[in-house]
Amino acid sequence: MKIRFWGVRGSIPSPGAQTVRYGGNTTCIEVRTDAGGLIVLDAGTGLFALAQALLKKLPIEANIFITHTHWDHIQGLPFFSPLYIPGNAVRIFGAQDVVTGAGIERAMEVQLQYSYFPVREVEMRAKIEYENLQVGASVRIGDAMVTNSILNHPVVNLGYRIDCNGKSVFFTGDHEPYFNIYEPGDEDFNEYQMLIEEKQRMVDDAVRGVDLLIADCSYTDAEYQDKRGWGHGTFSASIAFARRCGARHLICTHHEPTRADDDLEHAFDEALSHCSLGPNDPVVSLAREGMEIEI
């Protein structure tokens, strides 16, 4: 499989001189299966640059898997140029929204409202299909299998594992490590602790043994103190996660929009310095726009 990062930023696009090395587009990852099948993980603003690259060889069959429907993971959808060209086929996968009951098609609908976008969905000429995924379900895409796991974020967030001919990659989307909402001594503390440990085991099992883990590493440990419950991970928690699951390589993504390139490297180096990674530990790197990895 080949994995290419088209957007690595969290929350809001952050272009400019301060972010030019790692990139300012929001989340979008292209995965090419061995047989050339196209899987796109998230449709942040990085999707637009991917679309431009895809136009060179049409028609395409794209399979876009949305981890969750926050803006920074869907904003590129209306700008995915192949949607407007007959002959292309685009399948969009994601979870049903629990509060409204709406399916993943709403991620497109909300953006195509007249006041906010000039084109209607009927004017998109590609074949477009939406598929709401059941939690834990697997979808075959050519020679690859995409299996989701429900993770921890303020809206339903599906992490995706892609397996292809013995190689595997897992992308968390946005994910905060589970934490106990009770204090030690509260009546419900122990019960809740058991519940989160059980859930954590399920997530670890879903990720176990992957060649590549791409994880939400928004914060440093110090920053996290004020961001608990916001639904994002830290460098240190993701490194621990990768170690637990036996991932060979961890790529840290969802960079803070306010973090300049130098600060990002500094935060990353600082986090690594506390982890004392050994030869049997995963390789840990920072996601960078344009970065390509083959596994």
């Binding site: 629990v98 509060v99 059941q134 429900i150 974020h153 339903v156 909402i181 809740y192 419950g229």
Partner: protein
Amino acid sequence: MTQNAIEIERELGIVVERMPAFPKSVQRILELTRRVDCSPKDLVGIIEKDPVITLKVLRVINSAQLSLPTKITSINQSVVYLGVNTIKNLALSIAAIGILPASNAAGFDIDRYLLHSLTTATLARQLCALYANGEADPGDCYIAGLLHDFGKIVFARFKPEQFGQVLARCAAETGLSSHHAEQALIGADHTLVGAMLAAKWQFPAPLVECIRNHHSPAAPASAMSDCLRMADLISRLSNQGDSEHPYREGEAPINPQRFGPDLDRVIASLGDLDKLIAEARGFAQAGRAS
């Protein structure tokens, strides 16, 4: 399932969908969620005291669309799976429906209903911890207690005229229990309706069975069922709601093999019931006063 039963189930589903929650929980949820950093444990504490919100949250999370690998039977568990923000927004959307009126055409006392449900839930959880020998989960027993009479509140809104007659007949005839009167006057009792809803929304089978059988001593015993029936009995004995089915001397003991022959000893083992009842009463009545 017959065509008629399918139709009834569909109608019941719609009724529950539109059913508002209890005054106190709606008020507390609106208060709490004005703060962006509202405490997750406070929110759970409110939701799990309201049978309507609890039922709806569990219904959504156990829905076929999501199809979680595990059946979710507690609000804590739903927070682990969906996150507190989703649960908060679900609770808010339910709170936005309005509040369950204190009076209804059937004349059913919803404060007493809530008091009985809450007391039974808390007692069932305690009994489970003491007597279930690990055969049931205390959280499941709490939910069973909270929802066991849910069918009554559905009747009060769905069949107010007939349910009003049920209540009148129970008041007039000493010894007549509401589930018998419901069977005679409505054609189905609240255990059936509660179980039907729980099954429709894919609650775990033991929970469905437990609600279905809580007035059927001949039904196969289970730890959850024993704890629910004992909690219901103690709650009625302490005069905590359920006016339609007051405790009567000489009621058959609940599974003496589990609880022993002496009801007083079981009650004593639960500690200070007055505190528990005062808490439930505070929650059940505060909404009306405000």
